[in-house]
């Protein structure tokens, strides 16, 4: 029996790898046959109608983009399709047959596989163990055959050009690498429908290229792919058709070749979005408000960094994932220890040993990972936003909740947090609105210097636009901004000045209005 299980596992993975290796020259064949059809799907959570009578059709062998703003219902839709949630009404047809998946496993057995947006790996075990979790290859005596699992995992990782081995402990990998593991894990299964929810959110350009190659290969083998991304370029690069959801409703399905970017954005947000230049004509202020001199991190993830930040300036911090940007700003904020170096505020030396010190000096950080570092999922929006500055709501030492509700609502309304009920727990909101809560919390601290680390990761065009405008408004009102983003266009669109890091060192400084992606990349790969 154990031997049988062994064979099954081998043949399954063998099959997937065989398919991947098939010649790239095969003719693309978009058949009209629908492999998956979902009709009149509705779903609500309490008072929130997440999906309202939506349709979706997926043809065999197509890459079908699903787009919409945060809270449009994309994630809920995928969760219904993959058996995580059950719809309130509506039907799912797989190859013309009505299906109702009770569990993700049931959907998986029918060939529907989903790669999660949030990482769902177990940090303490090896990559191979994660990839085969629940599907372990058994040895002769029913023991787990780790060697075989590592071998199969390595083959898959190699195909993805992942650049790491499957016997490493998962938590030692970067976020991007872990994302790669999630994808590799999904590919181990034989499937007919693959849903990728924001797969590139934390990948580097090289990794994205590899992913696209693989997605296209899968397509040529007749697999159907549902692709969710907030990066418009990606949709135009690899997708065949696109379906748009807005506010839980189905808007339209069109061929990608027949729309352009502004038209698609308009379908998503329901209106035109203005021009995408957030630069100011105002000449930069001369006053240097923050100066960092020869800062070296205690873990040497960055070394000997010096820079100045002017009043009212947006300073972009560019570089590849792992260049040490996040570590640098965390150290400036006092979240991590430094080994040596000095920080000056308005010419006066300050000592920062913990986030409180930084905040007392008017420095605030919006951290990279909102779920782990940004907010408390179980608290209400009001409590989360208020957390950074409770003193504001104290009268004689006692918290004044009506004052707190009012002042927090001012901020969340300004940021257009949806739904407009601050008594909801932040964990219940969509990703983009959670990010707005994190931003609201930072603004509540009333900082002079705001550091934003990946402020728009995984959020939609409209919310991105709102955050860009907000950043510009803050800078225009005299706040100083440090902006980190792995999306280069974002840095270029906003920054007055751009600093580029490479492997923990500062390699270049550019004027934000004149710099091109090429200029930045030159420095980002070592100059």
């Amino acid at each position: 029996m154990a031997g049988g299980a062994d064979c099954k596992a081998v043949s399954r993975t063998g099959c997937a790898s065989g398919l991947l290796y098939k010649s790239a020259g095969e003719k693309m064949n978009l058949s009209d046959e629908n492999i998956l059809r979902m009709e009149h799907i509705s779903k609500s959570f309490g008072a929130v109608q997440a999906l309202d009578d939506v349709h979706f059709e997926l043809r065999k062998g197509e890459i079908h983009a699903l787009v919409g703003e945060n809270g449009a219902g994309k994630s809920t839709f995928l969760n219904i399709m993959s058996g995580n949630y059950r719809q309130d009404s509506g039907a799912i047809y797989l190859n013309g047959e009505v299906m109702q998946f009770k569990t993700p496993l049931a959907a998986k057995e029918k060939g529907i596989v989903k790669v999660h947006q949030e990482l769902q790996l177990i940090p303490e075990i090896t990559v191979a163990q994660n990839m085969f979790l629940g599907n372990e290859i058994k040895g002769r005596f029913g023991t787990i055959n780790f060697k075989e699992m590592e071998k199969k995992s390595n083959e898959m990782l190699k195909m993805l050009h992942a650049g790491f081995d499957s016997n490493v402990i998962t938590k030692t990998l970067s976020t991007a690498q872990q994302q790669m593991v999630e994808i590799a894990k999904a590919l181990l299964n034989d499937f007919s429908v693959l849903a990728l929810d924001e797969p590139t959110a934390s990948l580097t350009n090289k990794e994205i290229d590899e992913l696209f190659k693989i997605v296209k290969q899968l397509q040529r083998q007749g697999k159907s792919i549902i692709y969710i991304s907030h990066r418009m370029d990606e949709i135009f690069e690899i997708c065949d058709r696109v379906t748009v959801f807005r506010d839980g409703k189905y808007i339209d399905t069109v061929n990608v070749s027949e729309v352009d970017r502004p038209a698609l954005v308009k379908m998503m947000v329901g209106r035109d979005i203005g021009n995408e230049n957030y630069h100011t004509d105002k000449p930069a202020d001369k006053d240097v408000i923050l100066e960092v001199r020869n800062l070296t991190g205690s873990n040497h993830r960055f070394e000997n960094i010096s820079f100045g930040l002017k009043k009212g300036e947006i300073l972009g911090l560019a570089g590849l994932v792992g260049a040490g940007r996040t570590e640098l700003v965390r150290a400036v904020f006092g979240a991590d220890a430094v080994k040596s170096g000095e920080i000056f505020l308005r010419g006066k030396k300050i000592t920062i040993t913990c986030p409180r010190d930084a905040m007392d000096n008017g420095i605030m950080l919006i951290p990279e990972d909102r779920k782990l570092q940004g907010f408390v999922a179980g608290l209400t929006n009001t409590a989360n936003v208020a957390l950074s500055n409770l003193d504001k709501y104290r009268k004689n030492g006692i918290l004044d909740f009506s004052c707190m509700d009012r002042l927090v609502k001012d901020i969340t309304d300004r940021l257009n947090v949806q739904p407009k009920d601050n008594r909801l727990r932040t964990g219940q909101l969509s990703g983009g609105n959670q990010q707005k809560i994190v931003v609201a919390k930072a603004l509540n601290a009333e900082p002079e210097i705001l550091i934003l680390d990946e402020p728009t990761r995984g959020i939609d065009v409209n919310a991105k636009h709102e955050i860009y405008e907000l950043i510009r408004r803050l800078a225009d009102s005299g706040k100083s901004i440090i902006l980190i983003s792995s999306e280069l266009p974002e840095v270029l669109k906003l920054s007055d000045r751009i600093l580029v890091m490479y492997e923990g060192k500062m390699t270049g400084e550019l004027d934000g209005r004149e710099a091109t992606e090429n200029d930045v990349m030159q420095y980002a790969v070592g100059g």
Partner: protein, 310 residues
């Protein structure tokens, strides 16, 4: 809104359970329903309530304090020895409370500064503090230290006994801190997501040390009551009290995962445990069965919690 409803319905749920329990005992024995018996229940519950209030704070942070029984016994022993040596009872009580705070803070420092796990730290100090107690007392109880003190704590001429008043003052103060003070808000945030709380500019290490120190204070206050009621300090006192305190907090809705818990819930949790104890004793049920019943109650509360939060 939704969260609020869940919380409210949960609270009504445990209040209803308490009332149902009382109804059952009222029907089964005519000795149950009387003012003096209710005061008796409250008085018996007072010690556990003190300990459980501190435990609730600790549990909200996502931690646990197994050393409460040992802290209670050690601070009680020091108080008794001081009074035995002729020291003023009030000064001795204050010194005892200070010892409790110190022992709790020591737990907190190891947990917050050295980043050790709360379960293991307090498991260690549970034994270490007990050991210190046995050493300084030679394993012998201290008796007859201050009749004035014992009389004061048992002043039955006043209508509501002092232990009830002390424990309720503590509980109400804790309730107010949890709801209306910065510290309380931070406590829930800390238990829900420590890193996000730290990055919001909150000194989470200091918070944890204060929380464990408070738990130590609560245990010492329990021992102030305990000494008065018993008139003796036993080096073996408080053994197993951590379990009653955890049970009361858990019945009251505190989640061992952190970020959840309430003092009202803990008070009702204590009352449910004590009512059960009292009622079964009145019915002459063997204490073996009482132990079993308490275990079942904790399991039922846990199940209710699991399925009501779904």
């Amino acid at each position: 809104m939704k969260k609020l409803n869940v919380n409210l319905s949960r609270k009504f749920g445990i209040i209803a359970s308490l009332l149902a329990l009382m109804l059952v005992f009222t029907l089964l024995t005519n000795k149950f329903l009387s003012v003096s018996n209710f005061l008796n229940i409250l008085q018996q519950a007072a010690i556990n309530l003190c300990v459980a209030v501190g435990m609730t704070f600790v549990i909200i942070t996502g931690g646990i304090d197994l050393s409460v029984g040992s802290v209670m016994a050690l601070s009680g022993m020091i108080m008794a020895q001081m009074m035995d040596g002729g020291m003023n009872p009030l000064a001795s009580a204050i010194a005892g409370l200070a010892v409790g705070v110190l022992l709790g803070a020591l737990n907190g420092v190891m947990i917050a500064k050295m980043r050790l796990q709360p379960f293991l730290v307090t498991l260690g100090t549970m034994s270490a503090y007990r050991g210190i107690n046995l050493i300084i007392s030679n394993g012998l109880p201290v008796r007859g230290f201050s009749s004035a003190y014992v009389n004061f704590m048992n002043s039955l001429n006043s209508f509501v006994p002092l232990p009830i008043i002390l424990s309720l003052i503590l509980a109400v103060a804790a309730m107010i801190v949890l709801k209306y003070f910065k510290f309380g808000q931070y406590l829930f945030a800390l238990g829900g997501n420590e890193e996000a709380t730290r990055l919001s500019g909150i000194n989470t290490a200091k918070m944890k040390i204060m929380t464990y120190a408070f738990s130590g204070f609560c245990s010492a206050l329990a021992s102030v009551i305990f000494l008065g009621r018993l008139g003796a300090a036993d080096p073996q006192a408080g053994d197993g009290y951590e379990m009653n305190a955890i049970a009361a907090a858990a019945i009251g809705g505190a989640s061992l995962a952190g970020g959840k818990g309430s003092i009202v819930g803990t008070i009702i949790g204590c009352l449910i445990l004590q009512t059960l104890n009292n009622g079964l004793t009145l019915l002459n049920v063997q204490s073996f069965y009482q132990t079993f019943a308490i275990g079942v109650i904790v399991l039922i509360a846990t199940m209710i919690d699991r399925y009501s939060s779904k």
